[in-house]
């Protein structure tokens, strides 16, 4: 009972601060961000989530299978971005589906996965004639999804061999020796 009330409060609070949520739990982490600047609905969240997963498919890394970069992306745009970049991003995702529909004759959300992939490679190659805001969304989602992965604990430890207190610093080592050491 208590828990249900708490959830209702979150939804009400969120509505009050400009977010429209369905009751899907998928975006619980986004609800918890209590976004104030970014106004977004579930359909738009689905689009951004799709974009992020298609661009950097974290779900293909077994250790990160249950991770999504979306809350990180939204949090960064909400809090770290400057107002004008935040506005461009918001405008971009709010018109994304409609813009794709007018360019391709089919809304992004109605596309099959292969169609989405094809579309994204056109955007990636900058060959799609589209608005500045559409490109802002694509570039932001790409950059922040990459950042989410490359600053994750998994990546830092497994790929960057990060140690908090490495002890030694070696200024001049052979690249092959470093690779061999890391392979050990």
């Amino acid at each position: 009972m208590k828990r249900r009330k708490a959830i209702r409060n979150i939804v009400l609070f969120s509505l009050g601060t400009g977010i429209i949520y369905s009751c899907k739990d998928k975006y619980e982490a986004i609800k918890q961000l209590h976004l104030k600047h970014l106004i977004i609905d579930t359909k738009q969240l689905d689009i951004l989530d799709d974009l992020s997963r298609l661009i950097v498919p974290l779900q293909n890394i077994p250790e990160l299978a249950d991770h999504t970069a979306l809350p990180f992306i939204m949090n960064m745009v909400e809090h770290v971005f400057e107002e004008k970049d935040r506005q461009a991003f918001m405008k971009g995702y709010q018109s994304w589906d409609q813009e794709i529909l007018s360019i391709k004759g089919r809304a992004f959300s109605a596309m099959k996965i292969e169609e989405k992939q094809q579309l994204l490679s056109e955007v990636n190659e900058e060959s799609l004639k589209a608005s500045q805001e559409l490109y802002t969304v694509f570039n932001t989602v790409k950059e922040k999804s990459i950042q989410y992965l490359t600053t994750s604990e998994y990546y830092q430890r497994k790929v960057n061999y990060y140690q908090m207190a490495p002890g030694k610093f070696k200024g001049d080592v052979l690249l092959v020796d470093l690779k061999n050491k890391n392979d050990e």
């Binding site: 293909n60 809090h79 950042q147 992965l149 490495p166 610093f169 200024g171 001049d172």
Partner: protein, 559 residues
């Protein structure tokens, strides 16, 4: 000793004040150490020291609101998530200015010693002598030989990693072993050696314990582990901070009373004795006022605050500030010119990388205007040199292809080099700080007003640096050479100094050769405010040596 009476009061528990306190307490002097900031106890109060990079919400970035509300301190490279709590936010102590000045502050027990980059180069005889001999300043009342034993004294306790380079432009000190340098550092060093007889690329001496000695273990400090997140506080005590070293040391003597959250308003002057007899303090939280009394007062609140406290210490004898008969208090304020940088790519070391992270770099000490003024500009500059090879992120593709690229085994970008001029600025009467008589802070203390700027000499020095370093880079085979002028205002160098300069003559200086006010001998100003000229080295080692020397002068004078 009652609760308000002490033998000595030290204002400011940072880099220099903690040294005065240590020296006094070691010698049995009942000392009150005051700081306007909160207590920061070694280990206990380093909340972010062991946080992993991925635990920071914005992965090291600061929120846009935070930056907007703190445009000044946000310009400091070390003001990042995980260390912001050791800096002072812009609105806490506002100031006014005639020209842009960035005042970066760290108010807590430990002061900026928690935050510093730990670079510790001695001054040489040229640094002390050339302002006078090359006619851009008054004569220092001390020279290198006066300070050399105090450098040694401080270095042994602090722990300085360095190499014996045998250069008279940068005298050797008491060194622990150096850390390793990179392949490109070595290449640059040999190219410079081949081409210039008066220039040297050396390991930049730094306050890290590469091999702790008994004296460091006694302080409870251990070996530096090359974490390079020093500004959050080091759980190993691997670098010197007042918090890990001098303050707990002084506390163990039983002679120290440390009072945090104590904003010193002014120094109290006794018209009868012609001496200072204490300080007036405002509690930072309750705003209650207290007076504390002592035989001597040491000002170590950082150059700007020490000068401001003196200016605010008015009496009928000293209506313009304590010891300010000649009106020079606040004048000849100095800083370092850090605007000029030069970067390049370093092809040819593709098979070499670094393994780990180094908290230091390499360095070139001064090489012109040594015995006489040989250039069109006056003063000296040194150069901090950073070389690195970063991981390459292949981010062109999409989907699984992008993932494969990102997860691929170590791919590296080419080596790069980035060198920064550290320029001496000339002592000038018009570079000054004063009190704004129309505006006060939350404690009713007048705001500090800055009138500090660059001049033509600074521009000429930058041009010289660019030209010389383009030549050096070229000889080293570096490419894509880029001149950079950050355009930053004075202050971002965080090497504020002067304003109460030492001198031989009471008519043209504020302090004598022992850091005492010329006319109030039981007041010592033993932080950067005392500097007669700026030279170019990171100044804190010199401040600490001067502070220890001043404290020992007081000890001797009591015998």
């Amino acid at each position: 000793m009652s609760e308000v009476n002490f033998e000595a009061i030290v204002i400011g528990a940072g880099m220099s004040g903690s040294w005065v306190a240590k020296e006094l307490c070691d010698n049995g002097v009942k000392t009150l150490l005051l700081d306007r900031g909160p207590e920061v106890k070694h280990l206990r109060d380093y909340p972010t020291a062991s946080k992993y990079p991925w635990e920071f919400e914005y992965r090291g970035a600061l929120s846009n609101d935070h930056v907007k509300n703190n445009p000044i301190v946000s310009e400091c490279y070390a003001y990042k998530d995980g260390a912001t709590h050791f800096f002072v936010e812009d609105d806490v102590q506002p100031y006014t200015q005639r020209q842009p000045f960035e005042w970066i502050k760290g108010y807590q027990v430990g002061g900026k010693s928690l935050l510093w980059a730990r670079q510790t180069q001695r001054w040489s005889k040229y640094d002390f002598n050339t302002p006078y001999t090359n006619q851009f300043g008054i004569s220092w009342p001390i020279d290198y030989d006066d300070l050399a034993p105090w450098y040694s004294h401080v270095e042994k306790f602090v722990g300085i990693s360095g190499e014996k380079d045998g250069l008279d432009v940068l005298p050797d000190g008491e060194f622990l072993p150096a850390k390793e340098i990179t392949a490109v550092d070595k290449h640059l060093r040999s190219i410079v050696k081949e081409n210039y007889k008066d220039r040297h690329v050396i390991y930049a001496r730094c306050a890290h314990l590469t091999e702790p000695r008994e004296i460091h273990r006694k302080q409870g400090r251990g070996q530096c582990q090359n974490r390079t997140v020093c500004e959050r506080g080091c759980p190993f005590g691997g670098y010197f901070s007042a918090n890990s070293s001098t303050i707990p040391w002084a506390q163990r003597t039983g002679n120290l009373t440390l009072r945090a959250d104590a904003v010193v308003h002014s120094v109290l002057y006794d018209e009868q004795t012609g001496k200072a007899n204490g300080v007036k303090v405002i509690d930072a939280n309750s705003k209650e006022e207290f007076d504390y009394y002592a035989d001597a007062v040491f000002l170590n609140a950082g150059a700007i605050n020490s000068v401001a406290i003196l200016l605010n210490s008015r009496s009928s004898r000293y209506p313009n500030g304590l010891g300010n008969d000649n009106g020079l208090l606040g004048k000849y304020f100095g800083f370092h010119n850090y605007r000029a940088r030069i970067s390049a790519d370093c092809p040819g070391f593709e098979d070499r990388v670094m393994d780990g992270r180094s908290p230091t770099n390499v360095y070139m000490p001064r090489y012109v205007n040594i015995n006489r003024q040989s250039e069109t500009f006056k003063g000296a500059y040194g150069v901090a040199i950073y070389t690195a090879r970063y991981r390459k992120q292949e981010t062109k593709r999409l989907g699984q292809d992008l993932l494969n690229d990102l997860l691929k085994d170590k791919n590296f970008m080419p080596w790069t080099i980035y060198s920064m001029m550290m320029g001496e600025t000339l002592p000038k009467e018009e570079n000054m700080i004063s009190l704004n008589e129309n505006k006060v802070d939350q404690f009713g203390i007048p705001l500090v007003h800055f009138n500090v700027g660059y001049d033509d000499n600074d521009e000429k020095m930058m041009e010289h640096f660019y030209q010389q370093w383009e030549e050096i880079y070229d000889k080293a085979g570096f490419t894509n050479i880029q001149r950079i002028d950050t355009g930053q205002p004075p202050g971002r160098d965080i090497h504020e100094m002067g304003g109460a300069r030492m001198g031989k003559d009471p008519n043209d200086s504020v302090l004598n050769k022992n850091n005492q006010l010329h006319t109030v001998e039981n007041v010592y100003v033993s932080d950067g405010a005392c500097m007669t000229s700026t030279s170019y080295q990171n100044p804190s080692l010199t401040y600490m040596a001067l502070a220890a020397r001043a404290a020992n002068h007081f000890l001797k004078s009591r015998k």
